[in-house]
Each structure stands twice: as structure tokens, then as C-alpha cells.
């Protein structure tokens, strides 16, 4: 019984936190962007770019923090490109996002190969070039206390600082969005940009600012992928669809930080279980083919989006370029 509890509850929860960290950060990033009216399917590419920049810079400098700064720099640059296309030039936001995603897939490999000559990978990161996991005080000792012990010692303790940062950013994002001037204006600009404009606030500036925030958050997410989590180097295509999943979680969460985080948890948990369900014999069915386990998160996304979570209301102006004058 105790073993079951540990293997099927505690460890999956532990995995879930790790797996959902990049999702949470990306979902928050998407929230800032979409709340300001800019659809951002470029999250996927930005995440990949950030992972690359973080690993590359961390390797060269030997510092994971410098890696994170570089990642943020890279994602802000891509954000600005997205902004330039969609805000300044009113281009189609989905297309711009796709272009960035494709561009980054190619560019990371080319640069990676050109710089490190390891087939697009960066060298493995050691020591300070990587965020080590932090063991909480007394984590080892409390493990024997029933229930709370493992939750404290296994689930909560033992992750890298980036993970804790990610979860600290959830309430912070909520606060910024709903309790500050910046948040008020941001939300307004995604609902009715003309109202913001006539209130004497620059719509363009607000949207760019939102994209900067979005860039910072995806930058952190990327640095988690390549320097703060399970892997200590960049691998081509390591974002593996996480940007899209984060967007789905954002929609589940109705564009709110805390519910979006729970959406990410759902995906993280599903993946954690999928990993553990492989090869497990289920009574009467036998073992489920890995392909079907793989499908679960996607099918669930479709099912949930099909209205079983209630209609979510997107920011009204999302996806629509702000055009004042017909040219």
C-alpha cells in the first residue's frame, strides 16, 4: 500500500512539477501576450530558441545565470520580431508565429553546428553552468512521516531554482495583471484597443511591452529546459510541442494565471502517468500500446476544448491587428 502510494502518487506528482514547469512559464508568457491581444503560437519556437541560447551561453560562460540572461535576450528579440510583424506591420499573428517556429528550428541547428560542431547539440553542461537541484532543509529526514513527509521531501524538495521561480511567478503574474496599472492597461488593450488609445495610452507600446514580458517568461522557460531540469544541454527540437500544449492550458485556464497553472499540471500529470503506465498490465486489457498512451494528452485537450469545461471567453481583440486608418 505504502509502496503504491509512493510510486503512483508521490513520484508522479514529483514528475508533474518538473514536466509542467516549462508549460507554466510558457502559459504565463502566452497569457501576457494574448491578454494584450497578440496571439502567440511562436511560443514553441521561442522556447526552443531560449533553450539553445541558455545552453550555449551557459557553456561558454560557465554560468547558468548568464545562460538564462542570454535566453531572455534571445526570446525578447524574437518577441520583438513577432511584434514588428504583427503590431507594427499588422501581419497575421498565426503566420508570424509559424514563421518564427520554422526559422528557429533551422537556425538553432545551424548555429549550434557552426559553433559547437556537435550536430546541433551543445556540449554537456557541468557544475555552475547548470542549475543544480536544491534539497530543502531536512528533506531526507522527514521522508518517513506519513503523507506530508514524502510530499515535502520528494515532491517539493529537490528541484532546481528555476522551477521554484516559475511557481513564484504565478501569483506574481496574477498580481501584475489584476492589481497594477500595467495589468489594467494590458487587459484593456486586449479587449478594446481603441478604448486604450482614446484614454491617451499607446496601444503599440502596451503590446510591445506585453511581448517583452512574454519574452522574459519564455526565456526562463527555455533555460529550464536546457539548464535547469532533467537535461543539461541543448538538443535539437527539444521543445517538442510544449509551446502548443501551454497554449491549450492557457485556454483551459481561461487566460488566468492560476487556472492556467492547473491546466499545465493536468498535462504534466498525464505525461508523468503516461511514462509510468507503459508496459504496465492493466487487468483484462493487457498492456496499452505506447501510442495510445501518447495520445491521451492530445485527445484530452480536444475533449476538454469541446466545451466540457464551459466556454472560455478569449480576450475580445486577440488576433486582430489594431488598425485605425484604412490606408
Amino acid at each position: 500500500m505504502l509502496e503504491f502510494w509512493f510510486n503512483w502518487i508521490i513520484l508522479p506528482l514529483d514528475s508533474m512539477l518538473r514536466l509542467s514547469t516549462p508549460l507554466v512559464l510558457c502559459a504565463l508568457a502566452g497569457m501576457f501576450s494574448e491578454r494584450a491581444g497578440v496571439v502567440n503560437i511562436a511560443l514553441e519556437g521561442m522556447l526552443l530558441a531560449a533553450a539553445f541560447a541558455a545552453a550555449a551561453a551557459a557553456y561558454v560562460s560557465g554560468s547558468a545565470w548568464i545562460g538564462m540572461l542570454a535566453a531572455i535576450g534571445a526570446t525578447i528579440a524574437l518577441s520583438m520580431l513577432h511584434g514588428f510583424a504583427t503590431i507594427t506591420h499588422r501581419g497575421n499573428q498565426i503566420v508570424s508565429g509559424m514563421a518564427i517556429n520554422i526559422l528557429v528550428t533551422g537556425a538553432t541547428v545551424i548555429l549550434g553546428r557552426y559553433w559547437f560542431d556537435q550536430g546541433g547539440q551543445t556540449p554537456n553542461l557541468q557544475g555552475d553552468a547548470r542549475f543544480e537541484s536544491i534539497n530543502w532543509w531536512g528533506a531526507e529526514k522527514v521522508m518517513d512521516i506519513p503523507i506530508v513527509g514524502p510530499i515535502y521531501g520528494e515532491v517539493l524538495s529537490g528541484h532546481s531554482i528555476v522551477l521554484y521561480l516559475a511557481f513564484a511567478l504565478v501569483p506574481l503574474s496574477w498580481f501584475i495583471l489584476f492589481r497594477t496599472r500595467f495589468g489594467l492597461r494590458l487587459r484593456a488593450v486586449g479587449e478594446n484597443p481603441a478604448a486604450v488609445d482614446t484614454a491617451g495610452i499607446s496601444v503599440i507600446k502596451m503590446r510591445y511591452l506585453a511581448l517583452v514580458v512574454c519574452g522574459i517568461l519564455t526565456g526562463i522557460a527555455g533555460s529550464y529546459l536546457s539548464t535547469g531540469g532533467n537535461v543539461a544541454q541543448f538538443i535539437p527540437n527539444m521543445s517538442a510541442g510544449k509551446g502548443y500544449i501551454a497554449l491549450a492550458a492557457l485556454i483551459f485556464g481561461k487566460w488566468r494565471p492560476v487556472p492556467a497553472m492547473f491546466g499545465c499540471f493536468l498535462f504534466g500529470l498525464l505525461e508523468a502517468y503516461a511514462i509510468r503506465l507503459q508496459g504496465v498490465e492493466i487487468l483484462g486489457i493487457g498492456s496499452i500500446p505506447v501510442q495510445f498512451i501518447e495520445m491521451v494528452p492530445y485527445v484530452l485537450t480536444v475533449v476538454l476544448l469541446a466545451g466540457f469545461i464551459g466556454q472560455s471567453r478569449a480576450p475580445k481583440a486577440v488576433g486582430i491587428p489594431y488598425v485605425k486608418e484604412r490606408e
Binding site: 503560437i41 520580431l81 514588428f84 510583424a85 504583427t86 506591420h89 499588422r90 501581419g91 497575421n92 499573428q93 498565426i94 503566420v95 508570424s96 509559424m98 514563421a99 518564427i100 517556429n101 520554422i102 526559422l103 528557429v104 528550428t105 533551422g106 537556425a107 541547428v109 545551424i110 553546428r113 557552426y114 546541433g120 510541442g241 502548443y244 497554449l247 491549450a248 485556454i251 500500446p289 501510442q291 495510445f292 501518447e294 495520445m295 492530445y298 485527445v299 485537450t301 480536444v302 476544448l305 469541446a306 466545451g307 466556454q311 490606408e327
Partner: protein, 376 residues
């Protein structure tokens, strides 16, 4: 007051060309950075894609694929639906082709098989588009997200089918058996040799002609039938089309089914026309690139054919590039594609104001001169 009009050729020729040039220019910088002369690279690509008959064959072969996926995106888009699911629908189309060919191919002659294969490709593609369409129409799920999810689901689904159902026991790779010959779509060099024209054998096959027929069909359907009228009306103004008695559910389903069907036809070119077996992940990004093709082609069949040719050129020229410059990572072509999508899709309006201003100032100064001449 003289009102100036911007002629259409500026919008449909000058600006797209400028956009593509800008993309090439930026890629040239990337080439220089990694130490390859962009001029040499361009020469190799051009030569490889258009310089000899085999290059042409491959270019047109790729072009065919893009026409299908580009048309698919355009049809859905005329109803304001963003079908990102071309990838999965084309994959399913391939599954349909494979099933039908394997089941009946040994018993039936080509004259029956080929229409059957076409139907199978269309039906399977359409079926895979139907579910997201239904969910959008009836339950309001966001079609962009659902079609992305359906791409991922199709990967796993077909992965399973290939591995557990279709894979011949002896084979290691996840691919089906070679399809019976009666289901093969004839290659163009075979067809042309019948009429006495001699071209080098390439995968370029009759689906190219079918793709052009699809273009004509889409053009007629969208702009010259009442159903196309309803689709466009719904796309341009959903509440006005409701006022006109057009059922949104029917339109969403119709547009997506057509779109999925066209995506499914992609399998004709690649599977029935060339590789003759279903392989894991055989669509290889053509579905996604279809979005760029449709956008560059301004969602019009003629534009789509031209844009497909451009992407066909990129694919074929890119392969040649990788061949001639083994040191260059072949991913450079991916970068080039990304840049083209960026400049001609997302930044499509970037040059518009300045070009128009330039045009106006040129023509205005001319008309001023005329006036002065008259006054004098």
C-alpha cells in the same frame, strides 16, 4: 480632386516579389555568416531546380504536393477557418490510399484502382478534418488548437497502425508493403513518352495534372457556385450569412471537408505517384508549408500555383545545395523557408506603403507635368 488608384499589379506582383527578395537577402547574410558564398549557393539552387530536365521533374513533383496542401488551407481560410491540420489530414489520406491499394490492388485493374485511390485519399483526409470541424461548428472548440492536436494524434495513430497492422513481418522500418502496381499513378515521363515527348524519369507524375484540375475546381467552386458564395459570405461576415439563411454548421463542415479532402489528395502525389508505400511521417512538413503557400498565393488558385512553384524550387534547389555543399547544414533551407513565410506572410504589408507612395509620387509628378504642359 483627382483620386489615385493603386493598380493591381503592384499588389499581386511587385510586393510579393519584393517580399521574397527580402527573404533571400536575409538568408544571404546567414550564408555569409556560415562561410558560404550566397551567389554560388543561389546558382546551385537555380541550376538544380530549373537547370536540367531532372531538376524540373523534381521541382514540379514537390510543387504538386504544395498545390494540394496550399489549396486546402485556402479553401478553409475562405470560410475564415485556420486549418493547421493539413499535416495530419495528408497523413490520413496516405492511410486511405494504402488500405484501398492493399485490399483491392491485386484484384482490380488500374482503370478502377486509380479513381478508387483518389476517392480513398479524399475521404480519409476529409474524415480527419470532419471531427475538428464538427467540434468547432457544434461545440465551439478552437479549430487551430484542435487541428494541431489532430496532427499529433494522427502521428500516434498511424504509428500504431503501421507497426501493428501494415508493416510486413520482415521489414524493420515502420512502413507498409509496396502497394500493388495497379494503384500506381503513372509518372509524367511515361505519359509524355506516349505522346512522343522525351523527359528524364523523375517522380513527377500525373497527380500534377490532377492538382491543376483541383485548382480550376476550387476557383469555380468558390467564385462561381452558390455553395462557394455561401462559404465566402460566411468567411467575410458570419452574422450576415446567418441573416441570409446560411447554416454556419453546414458551412464549417463543408469548407473543412473540402479542405481535408484536398490535403488528403497530397497522398496521391507522394504515395501513389512516387514511393508506393506508406511511411512513418511521410508528409514531412508539407502540410504546414501549405499555410505559407496559401498566404503567399493570396488564397487564390493561380497565386497558389505560383507559390507552390517557389516552394518546389526551394525544396529541390535545397536538396541540390546540400548535395553540392556537404559542409552546409541542410537545415539552412528550413531557415530560408522560415524567412520566406515571415516576409511574404507575416510581413506582407511591410513594403506596401512605401511602394504605393513611390508609385503615387511617380504618377503624380507625371500628371503634374501633363498639367503644366497643358497650361503652357
Amino acid at each position: 480632386m483627382s483620386q489615385q488608384r493603386i493598380p493591381a499589379w503592384i499588389n499581386y506582383a511587385v510586393i510579393p516579389v519584393l517580399n521574397v527578395l527580402a527573404a533571400f537577402l536575409v538568408s544571404a547574410l546567414v550564408f555569409i555568416y556560415i562561410g558560404v558564398s550566397p551567389i554560388d549557393a543561389a546558382k546551385v539552387m537555380w541550376q538544380g531546380a530549373f537547370g536540367y530536365s531532372e531538376g524540373w521533374g523534381y521541382t514540379l513533383y514537390y510543387t504538386t504536393g504544395f498545390i494540394f496542401t496550399g489549396l486546402a488551407v485556402a479553401v478553409a481560410f475562405s470560410a475564415q477557418l485556420f486549418n493547421i491540420g493539413g499535416e495530419g489530414q495528408a497523413y490520413l489520406g496516405g492511410l486511405g490510399v494504402t488500405f484501398v491499394s492493399l485490399w483491392f490492388g491485386n484484384a482490380l485493374p488500374a482503370i478502377i484502382m486509380i479513381p478508387l485511390v483518389i476517392i480513398a485519399a479524399g475521404v480519409f483526409g476529409a474524415g480527419w478534418a470532419y471531427i475538428p470541424a464538427y467540434l468547432q461548428a457544434k461545440r465551439g472548440s478552437h479549430i487551430v488548437i484542435t487541428t494541431i492536436m489532430f496532427n499529433l494524434i494522427s502521428n500516434s495513430l498511424i504509428g500504431y497502425i503501421l507497426l501493428q497492422v501494415l508493416k510486413p513481418a520482415a521489414s524493420m522500418a515502420s512502413e507498409s508493403a509496396i502497394l500493388p502496381e495497379s494503384s500506381w499513378i503513372p509518372r509524367m515521363h511515361e505519359v509524355l513518352s506516349v505522346v512522343g515527348i522525351d523527359v528524364t524519369p523523375t517522380p513527377w507524375n500525373l497527380s500534377f495534372v490532377f492538382a491543376l484540375l483541383c485548382c480550376v475546381f476550387v476557383w469555380l467552386f468558390l467564385w462561381h457556385t452558390r455553395w462557394g458564395y455561401e462559404i465566402r459570405a460566411y468567411g467575410a461576415n458570419a452574422s450576415a450569412s446567418a441573416y441570409a439563411g446560411v447554416s454556419s454548421v453546414k458551412i464549417v463542415l463543408l469548407a473543412m471537408i473540402l479542405s481535408g479532402m484536398l490535403s488528403g489528395f497530397f497522398a496521391l502525389n507522394m504515395i501513389s505517384g512516387d514511393v508506393h508505400q506508406l511511411k512513418l511521417n511521410y508528409v514531412a512538413g508539407f502540410g504546414f508549408t501549405g499555410i505559407a503557400v496559401a498566404l503567399m498565393g493570396r488564397n487564390h488558385p493561380v497565386g497558389i500555383v505560383l507559390a507552390s512553384l517557389l516552394f518546389g524550387f526551394l525544396y529541390q534547389g535545397g536538396a541540390e545545395l546540400a548535395f553540392e555543399f556537404p559542409g552546409v547544414d541542410s537545415k539552412i533551407i528550413v531557415v530560408l523557408q522560415g524567412l520566406i513565410i515571415l516576409f511574404s506572410g507575416a510581413l506582407e504589408y511591410m513594403f506596401k506603403p512605401s511602394v504605393e507612395k513611390l508609385y503615387l509620387s511617380l504618377t503624380r509628378s507625371r500628371s503634374n507635368n501633363d498639367e503644366e504642359a497643358q497650361n503652357a
